[in-house]
């Protein structure tokens, strides 16, 4: 089971090797060339992160990254995983992928089925990984993709999925030679990425952060305008307070965690654990944690790695395993 890590600015072997030494086997990255950013500035991206600091901006840099990763005998993937590609952006995205072909990316991460079909039509035979934006949230959807698009190597499962559902998918996938990647640690989305239609752009705060942090009102549903509103409670989703030094560290660096389920994923033959760290500075913390969890057999032991009952109380859990509700 590989650890897949997002990268954004590091390029050379000396910069990437520490991540490999810590346990990273695969890397993914984004590319927004100048001819794209000139058209759309930083408001619209070919992948899900229209931030300068999340992407490589030149073919030279991208070439250096790919070369460095391959020199370390590891794999690197290119993300072209936005949800929508109208004609102009479709054309630019195909151009981008084709110009990276000499760099021998090990796969292209896609979400839009038309882009996948167009890339195949354009002669790109690099294997695909279907991103969470590809909406393969159940096995019928996996079969849908496999039926219509050639050479899909892997499906990335969404964040909002239960451990028992991952087991079911892994079992079905084993019969059909389908492999999966799951999220293991790091920022969680409160919503379902493939069905989240908000902007993630450097021009505005993230909607989810804005909407979910801070106080909200519960308002009654009624059948009369003007009927008195029942303010049942104010709801604050900032979650439990993290006062200890350990909790503060976990809050700032780990944020959300699924390590307790990692031994199960290994047992079920999941191909990879995703560590989403594009634009982040916590890779050096997260990769060793995942690596440690992969060596363990029991969820309780993985929780000991985290070392905080408060942090593992549910609010920061990807999977909250084991819980009677999750199996």
């Amino acid at each position: 089971m590989d650890i897949v890590v997002g990268i954004d600015s590091i390029k050379t072997v000396p910069e990437i090797k520490p991540l490999v030494d810590a346990g990273a086997e695969e890397f993914f990255c984004g590319y927004i060339p100048e001819y794209w950013s000139k058209e759309y500035e930083w408001e619209i991206a070919p992948n899900r992160r229209s931030y300068k600091e999340y992407n490589y901006a030149s073919l030279e840099d991208l070439s250096l990254v790919a070369d460095s990763v391959h020199k370390l005998h590891k794999k690197i993937m290119l993300t072209v995983n936005e949800h929508e590609y109208p004609p102009e952006r479709m054309g630019l995205s195909i151009r981008m992928v084709k110009e990276t072909l000499p760099l021998r990316f090990d796969s292209v991460i896609v979400s839009n089925i038309a882009l996948a079909l167009e890339l195949r039509e354009a002669g790109v035979d690099t294997p695909f990984h279907v991103s969470i934006g590809g909406l393969a949230n159940n096995y019928e959807a996996v079969r849908f993709w496999n039926k219509h698009v050639l050479n899909i190597r892997r499906f990335i499962l969404p964040r909002d999925i239960t451990v028992s559902e991952i087991k079911s998918l892994a079992e079905k996938g084993r019969d059909d030679g389908v492999t999966f990647e799951v999220f293991g640690i790091g920022n969680i989305c409160a919503f379902s990425d493939g069905y989240c239609l908000t902007w993630h752009s450097s021009r505005t705060p993230s909607f989810c952060t804005w909407f979910l942090n801070g106080e909200r009102k519960l308002i009654s549903i009624t059948d009369e305008i003007g009927k008195s509103v029942s303010l049942k409670t104010t709801v604050d989703f900032r979650g439990p307070s993290f006062d200890s030094e350990r909790d503060k560290f976990l809050d700032s660096q780990v944020r959300t965690c699924g390590l307790c389920a990692v031994p199960l994923f290994k047992e079920w033959g999941i191909s990879a654990i995703k560590v989403p760290t594009r634009g982040e500075n916590n890779r050096a913390v997260l990769i060793p944690l995942v690596k440690q969890a992969m060596e363990l057999k029991l969820p309780e032991d993985c929780k000991k790695i985290i070392g905080s009952e408060n942090f593992c109380s549910g609010a920061r859990c990807y999977y909250n395993y084991p819980s009677e509700r999750n199996v």
């Binding site: 759309y40 993709w145 009624t222 709801v235 609010a315």
Partner: protein, 285 residues
């Protein structure tokens, strides 16, 4: 915007209770803002010839078999057509959604199912279920955001365009026998004027923003569940309350059920073969 709409009007109702109230000409239920919006737009209620019945975003709200049967009977007796709206599904929801598809298709073969889930599409096609598939608006993934205003005219124009304008995308679905798709009536408008052989639904006035299988309403009374209460027991809290932020964005925003919605009374221009208005008297959640 839709005052002079002269094409088909459908009404979106997510639950049997909503449908009963509508058929009995009784007041619908909603949050105060929904009811305010309804009072401004209610002229569309009586013009509807079809009901889009069902919930788009939450598999926990999937109508039961008996509810689908009663909904169909109510529509039949009121001489309204009925389309079944299905939510996207996780692996554990597959059996119940298949059951809903089977009961609906047996009631009225050839009728419409609205779905935003590739797995549901795959099931229907592989099993040759006798229904007509309509792509749900959650697959029209043009961006929308209560906070965001685009600065460049180019970006603004681009944000009204969809993958449907790429022939391979439209042709892919046409080859599957799918020739109708839904879009929200967005502030920036929608431009599918270059898409042929497809018909489009325009949903109005509540625009879908985002959703997830973890429902914040489940955690509303217990902050230790945080933002991500996925496995909390569901008592359909969404039937009795909604969540409203204290902060204000560019558009009125509300969470009803597991999904967030914006109110867009005056959308941008809709260009293309829009032949149905899907009127939402209250948020269809």
């Amino acid at each position: 915007m839709f005052e002079n709409w002269d094409k088909e009007i459908c009404i979106a109702l997510p639950s049997l209770n909503d449908l009963r109230l509508f058929m009995e000409n009784k007041p619908l239920r909603g949050s105060p803002q929904e009811l305010r919006t309804l009072s401004e737009t209610r002229t569309f209620l009586q013009k509807a010839t079809r009901v889009y019945f069902g919930h788009e975003t939450c598999a926990r709200r999937l109508p039961q078999r008996n509810e689908i049967i009663e909904a169909f009977s109510l529509c039949l007796s009121s001489e309204k057509e009925m389309s079944l709206v299905l939510p996207y599904m996780g692996e554990r929801n597959v059996k119940s959604i298949i059951s809903a598809i089977e009961v609906f298709s047996s009631l009225n073969p050839g009728e419409e199912i609205i779905t935003s889930d590739f797995g549901i599409i795959n099931f229907i096609k592989e099993k040759n279920v006798p229904v007509k598939i309509i792509l749900g608006r959650l697959l029209g993934r043009l961006k929308r955001d209560p906070l965001f205003t685009l600065s460049s005219e180019k970006s603004h124009r681009e944000s009204s365009r969809s993958s449907f304008s790429v022939p391979s995308f439209a042709n892919f679905f046409l080859a599957l026998g799918i020739s109708r798709a839904g879009f929200d009536s967005l502030p920036q408008g929608i431009d599918v004027s270059d898409v042929s052989r497809f018909e489009f639904d325009a949903y109005w006035p509540w625009v879908y923003v985002t959703s997830g299988r973890g429902c914040q309403l489940l955690g509303a009374n217990d902050f230790t569940k945080g933002k991500y209460p996925f496995e909390a027991p569901c008592n359909k809290e969404c039937l009795i309350s909604v969540l409203e932020s204290e902060k204000k964005g560019n558009f009125y925003t509300i969470q009803k059920g597991n999904a967030v919605w914006m109110e867009i009374l005056h959308p941008g221009k809709l260009s293309g073969n829009f032949t149905r208005l899907i009127y939402e008297p209250v948020i269809p959640a």
